[in-house]
């Protein structure tokens, strides 16, 4: 599959730069427009798969860009994720009413943005595999059983849910907030120690007895499950 192309429309120089760099390093191709008009122009010119749109833009603001995108046939169905610094309910409602697909409130974790983008780009719902295999680990999703090197690893229901989440998103860094939300339906900023403790518990059973580690901490970002740690 060819890399997905993401158009970033953001006027704040540092934000634009790190988004461009971060998204390119996350396996997307990306381009950056520093104002609404250029962004709209690029959206019409390039093969864009998704737009990351800042709401506070000079001259032509994000709402106008969004409305213009939706008004054009070629870009009417283009997924748009908007970024806002104002966490007001009206703002969010307005964005979603104008046809945005998702939003993030600044400050947000970069891995959270990548996770949202991946979700939006997934045209069909993720097919749930009945079995997952990472390194020497096999997960039988239906029977909720885990084996490493053929030997069963006994996990609690929660530990299994956590592992299943990480394994399904193999290679993706998942933020603590995303893990809390997906595993426990905790959708607010909670004590990060809770997630760390849960992951440590899982690791004690899954990784400690083996030399090949599968769950890795990405400091400042979250956790990732993969067989080969990035060099």
């Amino acid at each position: 599959m060819a890399a997905m192309h993401i158009l970033i429309i953001e006027d704040e120089p540092k934000t634009g730069d790190y988004l461009l760099r971060g998204l390119r390093e996350s396996g997307f191709t990306a381009s950056l427009a520093r104002n609404g008009r250029d962004g709209l122009h690029l959206a019409g010119e390039e093969e864009v798969d998704l737009v990351v749109l800042d709401v506070m833009l000079p001259r032509m603001d994000g709402w106008e860009v969004l409305a213009a995108l939706r008004a054009h046939e070629a870009t009417a169905r283009l997924p748009v994720l908007f970024l806002t610094a104002r966490d007001e309910v009206q703002d969010r409602v307005r964005g979603l009413e104008l046809g945005a697909d998702d939003y993030l409130v600044k400050p947000f974790a970069f891995v959270e943005l990548v996770a949202r983008i991946r979700t939006l780009l997934r045209r069909a719902p993720l097919r749930e595999d009945d079995a997952l295999c990472i390194g020497d680990m096999e997960i039988d999703v239906v029977a909720r059983k885990v084996r490493r090197q053929g030997k069963p690893v006994l996990l609690t229901a929660q530990e299994f849910n956590l592992l299943h989440l990480l394994a399904r998103r193999q290679g993706q860094v998942l933020s603590r907030a995303l893990i809390a939300s997906a595993v426990w339906d905790i959708n607010f900023d909670s004590d990060t120690n809770v997630i760390d403790a849960a992951v440590r518990r899982l690791r004690r059973k899954l990784d400690d007895p083996f030399t090949l580690k599968l769950i890795h901490t990405r400091r400042g970002m979250g956790y990732v499950c993969e067989a080969e740690p990035q060099a």
Partner: protein, 455 residues
């Protein structure tokens, strides 16, 4: 016109006084006119009786025939009296009628009966009255008619009317002036309030209006304004305290970020060192970010901008979810979690979980190793009580009243390095407030219990 109370009240006052003066004038005028008319009628009838008597006296016929001017002089006297005597055959025996007036003849009544007085209008346009009776002259029946024109009377009435109108107008104007003066004078306390209110600004919210010397009617208004000032002062102090606290709380993480980054940049370092620095920066930034989120939540809850989406939640389920969530952390600290109680609670699920999570994370953090943290539910006096109890060092008595205040940390050493924002319990309290309930702390021997009370 619409805006001025003084003008409106003055105008109303002028209208009221004018209307009552006019009513009184009208009444007096009518009474006066009635009295004059009655007197004139009596005079007219008297004249008629005089003529009758004269005719009845001996020699009247001769007198009538030979000296009609006698009648003119004595009977009529004034030019405006008209007398006519007609005999049964219709022959006019006497007709005193200087201007040659024509007046209607009322039906003559018999002698002794009270004749009807008929009104008419003279050729000059003045009102007149006429009466007619039958009398006897030498045994013969005659008809006597006496009429009179009241030119003076009309003029007098006109003068009288004018005087009444003038008096009414003057009274109304005087009343208006008086009302305006009284209002301007009477509204002085209001202007004093306005002058005071104009001086109210953020730094001077604590100055109160003087209600001692104000009229009794204005005291409720002044008291209400003073109460408003107190509330504003309170809110303002809280807000400025809030921003001061916030700025203060931001100092530590910002200082860490600045300091450690500058130290790192002072010389070349290995990639591992840089990585370490960046990760540490992320931790500080996350702390700042959490603080901003929490502050926004608190600000919104206080502005009543957070509307809980209440639903009936099974307490057992919520407790189980929390216990699961904190399982790992509790295990690491050697603490057991125990849930007791059932039933339902009307609450917003996300807000309830947030409150419980904040309490549980505190409880586990402060629990003595090997002890049990208890989650319990009970119905007390119509309220649902959810409690989180931990064993461990009790909270110092002097800390108890301040626990729910933002940024209050009972023991600074306890929260250092835990990434705590010092806002957890404030958020719990705010969540309970938006539910119309409250949060309490209850110290027990060797234990600390936090209780959420849902109405």
């Amino acid at each position: 016109m619409k805006g001025s109370l003084t003008l409106r009240v003055t105008l109303a006052f002028v209208l009221i006084v004018a209307a009552s003066a006019a009513g009184l004038g009208l009444y007096l005028y009518h009474a006066f006119v009635g009295e004059i008319v009655r007197r004139d009628d009596i005079a007219l009838l008297g004249k008629l009786r005089q003529v009758q008597q004269l005719l009845g006296s001996p020699g009247a016929q001769t007198l009538l025939r030979e000296r009609p001017q006698y009648f003119r002089d004595t009977m009529s006297g004034q030019e405006n009296s008209l007398v006519r005597i007609v005999d049964a055959d219709g022959q006019v025996l006497l007709d005193i009628n200087p201007p040659g007036e024509r007046y209607p003849l009322p039906p003559a009544v018999a002698e002794g009966a009270r004749p009807a007085v008929l009104a008419w209008t003279s050729r000059a346009g003045a009102p007149g009255q006429v009466v007619s009776v039958t009398g006897r002259l030498n045994g013969q029946q005659v008809r006597i008619t006496v009429a009179r024109v009241y030119a003076d009377r009309t003029a007098m009435f006109v003068r009288y009317r004018r005087q009444i109108v003038l008096a009414c107008t003057l009274a109304a104007l005087l009343a208006g002036l008086l009302a305006a003066f009284l209002l301007v004078h009477g509204l002085r306390p209001l202007r004093a309030i306005a002058a005071h209110a104009a001086l109210v600004r953020p730094g001077r919210l604590d100055s109160q209006l003087d209600s001692e010397n104000a009229p009794r009617e204005l005291r409720p208004l002044i008291d209400a304004l003073n109460a408003m000032l107190v509330r504003l002062h309170d809110g303002y102090t809280r807000l400025s305290g809030f921003s001061a606290d916030l700025a203060h709380e931001f100092r530590t993480p910002v200082n860490n970020l600045l300091g450690q980054t500058q130290v790192a940049l002072a010389q070349r370092r290995s990639p591992d060192d840089y990585e370490e620095l960046l990760a540490s920066n992320v931790e500080e930034l996350e702390r700042l970010s959490r603080m901003v989120d929490s502050m926004l939540f608190l600000a919104r809850a206080r502005q009543e901008d957070v509307v809980p989406e209440r639903q009936a939640l099974a307490v057992e389920e919520e407790f189980a979810r929390m216990a699961e969530f904190f399982e790992g952390m509790a295990e690491e600290r050697g603490v057991l979690l125990d849930c007791a109680g059932s039933g339902t609670v009307q609450a917003d699920p996300q807000l309830l979980r947030r409150a419980l999570a904040n309490l549980l994370s505190n409880a586990i953090r402060h629990a003595s190793p090997g002890s049990t943290v208890m989650l319990a539910a009970a119905q007390v006096a119509g309220e649902t009580e959810l409690s989180v109890t931990n064993q461990g060092d009790p909270v110092a008595a002097h800390d108890l009243p301040h626990l729910f205040e933002r940024f209050y940390r009972g023991d600074a050493s306890r929260s250092a390095g835990t990434g705590s924002t010092g806002l957890g319990l404030s958020i719990v309290s705010a969540i309970m407030a938006v539910h119309g309930g409250r949060a309490e702390v209850r110290p027990l021997p060797g234990m600390t219990r936090f209780v959420l009370l849902f109405p």
